[in-house]
Symmetry: C2
DNA sequence: TAAAATTAGTAAAACGATTAACTAAATGTG
DNA sequence: CACATTTAGTTAATCGTTTTACTAATTTTA
């Protein structure tokens, strides 16, 4: 499709000025007399002229566009982060190119390449698991990248904002331990990512303080949807029917877990206690209301964008930000 | 930030060929001998060279990027549509520039301008309420736009995919009427948009068939979040405590509505029946499980992208697609 | 009033690809 | 062998801006 649009030259001709003048009027890059300026603006308005930004980008080597690469999608925590980033980008006059890699490392690398070639000014990346050393190709050229929510511990030179997932795992587990639970199932969806790893470390540390040995079979993976939560509960209870509590790592799985527990005619929190991650909106009307431990998606999102902006404006910018978790105590934990 | 990247010329020089040859190798636009091709590819690989797409776009007048402009965000129906569109775009080799207008008409218009100037190949738009005649500036130049989910009835020449919201309103209302309800509250969030209007017409038509006069005060607006749902319920029950059923237009509001109903110590469905829109994942574990009427977000999303592609490839493409609603009957309706 | 400084605008060279039109060498054909 | 065709690659124009370096006219200054 050829879009034979109006160009700056056309505007210039019609306003009897040079293209340079039109450009200066549009960008306020030089003082142009009131009369000329108005003449130009009038022609622009009349034709609904908007400058071609491919040309502009090409010339300026910048696009006022940022890439946002997430590794998974419809879980309310991620959605809200995306929303916050979009909002912040908008405020700052940026656009956002959104890509979901679906936890595919290969695709992630291709995406970063593509976005880079699209002249985005920087990328916010929530990495998949797996080796992301390829990122060093970009960072060594100082191409601005910041890591969102997850990080890769071997890569130190990329700014990042994450939650304090160690603390999160620790707090949630501690809370359940304090209620007297000894066998606590840990249900997660993505292996080998910092969020899971750190929460597990927190979980282990809490157990250690209670002198309870860590049992690997209580650390169970499931598909990050409702079904995954149900299956994980089933799996865990089959392994050991003494398990009396679950700590579930995302909202859909939490729903699945509850649904399975109810299906098994077990009572929450009397037979099984439960803490879920993230404050999804239905938590408080579910019976019993769910106790959640959470991180602030909006803050994480906005911070990520601000970091990216800093990195764009200052190649030496470097910071690792870790936000603390908080807990909304309702009934499912046994309180 | 200047990114002094490697250009095609650099690759050409190093491979001892012309830039044209490099381009041909990359794009397979001309037969190049095996030996030259490999030489070029080797140099490209060695430098991690990726063509500058600002230049490419400028030259080709196309960007393989589509704009996606939504009017609101974190409600699972919209999220899933976005997800589906992103997925389809990816399959088709497109990228997506995502903007949320937050129901702001002015901003919507600015956004369309901006995206247009960014050389997107087309735009998928879920319009705000209000006058969108400005779109005609684009359609008359055959700039590809398709309307998603909502439409504006005065604009006929833009392809669109929506749900059959008349049927949806009709079916939901009918269902409640069949359970003997006479006074049914209709809780919505966005006025003057086709989705609301059409559902209302369906609601009215159903009432008409039962010879029940339409009462405008049962048609109540609320903020599209949990709180909005609670407030609307409160508002309606204050107006008329004979109201025995609610039809709620989005997931978060449904949750708010339930929460308020429970707070008032009313039983669902005995005292108050309820049908919500959209199949959010917690519907079935809420007590009682919620009856939902819904539209298929994935189908709508994918269809929208396919339509856009059609429109991009054929300026005369024109179609209005309307997808039928379906109902998931659980307990909250009184079944 | 002559020189200097300011103002208002322009010409033309980028930016980095694609692609139509061309050339030169190699191969095929009668 | 002479001519046509195919193959492999190149040259240079082009896309639509921005921006540096320039000019010409006007105003200020001494």
């Amino acid at each position: 499709m050829k879009k034979e649009g109006i160009t700056m030259k056309d505007i210039a001709r019609e306003a009897n000025v040079s293209a340079a003048t039109v450009s200066h009027v549009i960008n306020n890059t030089k003082h142009i007399s009131e009369v000329t300026r108005n003449k130009v603006l009038e022609v622009i308005k009349r034709h609904h002229y908007v400058p071609n930004s491919a040309a502009k980008n090409l010339r300026q080597q910048s696009s006022k566009t940022a890439g946002l690469v997430v590794s998974s999608f419809p879980d309310s925590f991620v959605t809200e982060m995306i929303f916050a980033i979009e909002e912040r980008a908008k405020e700052m006059g940026y656009n956002l190119l959104l890509v979901n890699t679906n936890e595919d490392r290969e695709y992630e690398e291709k995406t970063i390449n593509l976005l880079h070639s699209k002249q985005v000014d920087g990328i916010i990346l929530s990495p998949t698991s797996g080796d992301i050393q390829y990122l060093q190709n970009y960072t060594k050229d100082n191409f601005p990248i910041v890591m969102l929510n997850r990080y890769e511990s071997t890569i130190k030179n990329i700014p990042r904002v994450t939650g304090d997932n160690f603390q999160l795992g620790y707090d949630a587990t501690m809370h359940l331990l304090q209620h007297g639970h000894q066998k606590i199932g840990f249900i997660y969806s993505y292996p080998n990512v910092s969020t899971t790893d750190d929460r597990l470390k927190g979980y282990q540390e809490a157990l250690r303080q209670y002198n309870i040995p860590y049992q690997e079979e209580f650390f169970v993976q499931g598909y990050a949807k409702v079904k995954g939560g149900s299956d994980a509960v089933q799996d865990l209870l089959t392994k050991d029917n003494q398990i009396s509590a679950f700590f579930v790592q995302n909202d859909l799985m939490t729903i699945g877990a509850i649904s399975k527990i109810k299906e098994l005619k077990l009572k929450i929190p009397d037979d099984i206690a439960l803490i879920g991650f993230g404050d999804f909106s239905s938590s408080h009307i579910i019976d019993p209301p769910i106790t959640n431990i959470l991180l602030p998606p909006e803050t994480i999102g906005k911070t990520a964008f601000d970091m990216l902006l800093n990195k764009i404006n200052n190649p030496n910018y470097m910071k690792h930000i870790e936000l603390p978790p908080s807990m909304i105590v309702r009934k499912s934990c046994g309180c």
